[in-house]
């Protein structure tokens, strides 16, 4: 098919077409723009033909779904077998309130839970810490001790749901609490399914809920890898996240480049800690964003899969196919959603969700129309969930895997994105790996530059956002907005006070000092943290012990 003559002929015909047809039309009716670009700055030509993908080797570069290099998807049947997991990120207020929201979501056909914690929890402060004032329960659920975790999952059998927890710096502590709750429910650990985000590198880059410096943080990460590979085999030990990088302003190319560079750093850290690649790599999972530039996004997901497969096989000599599979969760792009004319966001989310599905995602969160106004209200979440259900059941795009494969344009974009992302990875390798590129601010600076450029494009009208800088209209939003009870902080403080009078404080002290000793040495910290959690040592107490040994991270700002 791809013989020289054939491509030559196409080349010839397309320049003829350009010259004879396109140029003539353009004289009379100029195109809308001088240059057409994707969000990552890839220039888009007037046409794509087999010539643009002449180098593509189907068997090597695409292969079949469920087969190396997994460009076309990680399972052989993809959504013909089972749809992706529909998983809305939620949590606010007290454990009781969030528990009620989870039960509601499960009753609406959601198939997995995704827990949002409040900021003090994510940064390892108890609700009564001075820094926590005004933040308790605001943007997620407040968890201070095992007590809160017990309430959070009350009536939700942990062997029946898969739970994703967005927790990073103190991931080990929250995982420990989950484990103890499971024990108390009588659920065996090998039955537990779910994910902890546990991706500290992107916290330094884009998300901001770091606690400890890079090195000790990576130790905690690998401790979790080790512990889970032994005891919780079905648990995803990390969700290496591009989502936050993208939302901080990165382009599609930067998103996957920096995410995979972080992935490489974690693999290196684990190998250095003595783990065997095929023991932990199958449990690495990923998390990406889906924006509105539909075809670029689909290409991005495909490129990421192919790149990771090759990195694992060629760079790390993985043998197990599962180690090479890039499985990912997707969230639609929050930063594309506007406060102006919020109902328009429903349409944006639909496009973005479609991109994720066409890109072969394993699970999906769709944002709500009130994204730029407040935490999502129950009504808005329902529409967002329905959007996924409509794509799944009505659109027909799920009936064959990777339906856009073979499109000249999509394959070309896939190649381009891969090339550009590989250039970044090479640059980061030269800088000494992701950890170095973070500590000297390289990655952050690249992202900030993109964010600033994006903002300027909007302000100059070079990038149109409907309802924001074109087709504007003054209208008030009619939906209800979620309000978080301002009393949560006081309630949590009171709970803590009570807890501290009721638990065995001697035992807590003993467990904490054992943890400290372990932290000073080399042993795996997971068992010590579980012991501390079990006797109701608080999250803040545990993190303080670790702070005293590890110190704290200070951000690197280069504007």
């Amino acid at each position: 098919m791809k013989d020289e003559d054939y491509i030559g002929k196409i080349k010839e015909e397309s320049s003829k077409w350009l010259y004879q047809c396109v140029d003539k039309v353009k004289e009379k009716y100029p195109e809308r723009k001088e240059k057409f670009m994707t969000s990552s700055g890839i220039e888009i030509k007037n046409i794509y033909t087999p010539d643009n993908i002449a180098d593509l080797n189907y068997l090597n570069d695409l292969g079949f779904p469920g087969q190396y290099p997994f460009t076309r998807g990680v399972q052989p049947t993809m959504y013909r077998g089972r749809f992706w997991t529909m998983r809305q990120y939620a949590g606010f207020g007290t454990a009781e309130e969030s528990n009620a929201r989870y039960k509601y979501l499960l009753s609406q056909g959601q198939t997995g839970l995704s827990i949002a914690f409040d900021l003090p929890t994510q940064i390892g402060y108890d609700s009564d810490h001075p820094m926590a004032e005004g933040e308790v329960g605001k943007v997620g659920v407040a968890v201070d001790s095992l007590l809160d975790m017990e309430v959070l999952f009350e009536g939700i059998p942990l062997d029946k749901v898969s739970t994703s927890m967005t927790i990073n710096a103190p991931a080990a502590v929250l995982l420990a609490m989950y484990i103890v709750v499971a024990e108390k429910q009588g659920v065996y650990l090998d039955k537990l399914e779910g994910t902890i985000q546990n991706d500290i590198l992107k916290e330094y880059i884009a998300r901001g809920t770091y606690i400890f410096p890079i090195e000790p943080s990576l130790r905690l990460t690998t401790d979790i890898f080790k512990y889970c590979s032994e005891y919780i085999p079905k648990w995803n030990t990390i969700s290496i996240s591009g989502y936050h990088i993208r939302e901080a302003g990165a382009t599609a190319v930067q998103e996957i480049a920096f995410t995979l560079a972080n992935g490489i750093e974690y693999v290196n850290a684990a190998l250095k800690a003595g783990l065997n690649i095929d023991d932990f790599a199958p449990r690495l999972s990923f998390f990406f964003s889906a924006h509105s530039d539909l075809l670029e996004e689909v290409a991005k997901f495909r490129a990421a899969r192919r790149m990771w497969a090759r990195i694992m096989k060629e760079r790390f000599n993985a043998k197990n196919l599962k180690s090479m599979m890039l499985r990912f969760h997707t969230q639609t792009g929050g930063s594309t959603l506007t406060a102006q004319q919020p109902d328009n966001n429903i349409v944006r989310v639909a496009l973005q969700a479609l991109a994720a599905v066409l890109g072969g995602t394993q699970s999906l969160h769709t944002n709500s129309r009130d994204e730029a106004l407040a935490l999502p209200s129950e009504d808005s979440v329902k529409i967002a969930l329905r959007t996924q259900q409509i794509i799944a059941y009505e659109s027909g795009v799920c009936d064959t895997p990777d339906p856009l494969a073979g499109s000249y344009y999509v394959e070309y974009l896939t190649d381009q994105i891969e090339d550009k992302a590989l250039q970044y990875i090479k640059k980061i390798d030269e800088l000494g790996g992701a950890a170095c590129a973070i500590s000297n601010g390289f990655i952050q600076k690249e992202i900030q530059d993109s964010a600033y450029r994006y903002q300027k494009e909007i302000e100059k009208g070079e990038r149109i956002i409907v309802g924001l800088n074109k087709f504007k209209s003054e209208e008030k939003y009619h939906g209800n907005l979620l309000k978080v009870d301002p009393q949560v902080g006081e309630m949590q403080k009171e709970k803590l006070r009570k807890l501290k009078t009721q638990r065995d404080n001697e035992e807590v002290k003993r467990r904490l000092s054992e943890l400290k000793e372990a932290a000073c040495g080399q042993e795996n910290l997971m068992p010590k943290i579980i012991d501390a959690v079990r006797v109701y040592a608080t999250l803040g107490e545990i993190c303080d012990v670790l702070r005293s040994v590890f110190g704290e991270y200070r951000e690197n700002i280069i504007l």
């Binding site: 900021l119 901001g208 600033y452 504007l559």
Partner: protein
């Protein structure tokens, strides 16, 4: 004599959303201002102290985590205690319309919510700072 306006861009509380703050900081810089950016997780005390020592004309607070009703009044109060109420305070981020009157009543001069062009904030500062 024309002098650069000095602005402290600050992120109070535990909020990690810094995309907007960094964009605003750069826009101020490009408009010829001297911008002091102190990074995430600043307490009201740290913000006020920095503003005083740096003798800024403007404190520009950015917050998206919803803690504004707690943190902003504290900052305004500290400024008053230190006799520095002449420093203009503006803010931006995710701030519900219904909270704005209260925040203005404690002394925040203007609030810029999502979708505001940075040029608007720049103009506002230039118009309202006596150089």
């Amino acid at each position: 004599m024309k002098r650069p306006i000095r602005v402290l861009v600050a992120k109070p509380g535990l909020d990690g959303h810094d995309r907007g703050a960094k964009v605003i900081a750069r826009a101020f810089k490009d408009a010829g201002m001297e911008v002091i950016y102190t990074g995430l997780r600043q307490t009201p005390e740290q913000i006020v102290e920095a503003a005083i020592q740096e003798d800024v004309d403007v404190i520009a607070l950015s917050i998206l985590s919803g803690a504004h009703n707690t943190l902003f009044p504290k900052i305004m109060n500290l400024l008053k205690c230190r006799g520095a109420e002449d420093i203009m305070v503006i803010a931006g981020g995710i701030i519900p319309d219904e909270d704005i009157p209260f925040l203005k009543s404690v002394g925040i001069k203007e609030i810029f919510t999502p979708g505001t062009p940075t040029s608007k904030a720049v103009e506002y500062v230039i118009e309202n700072v006596k150089v």
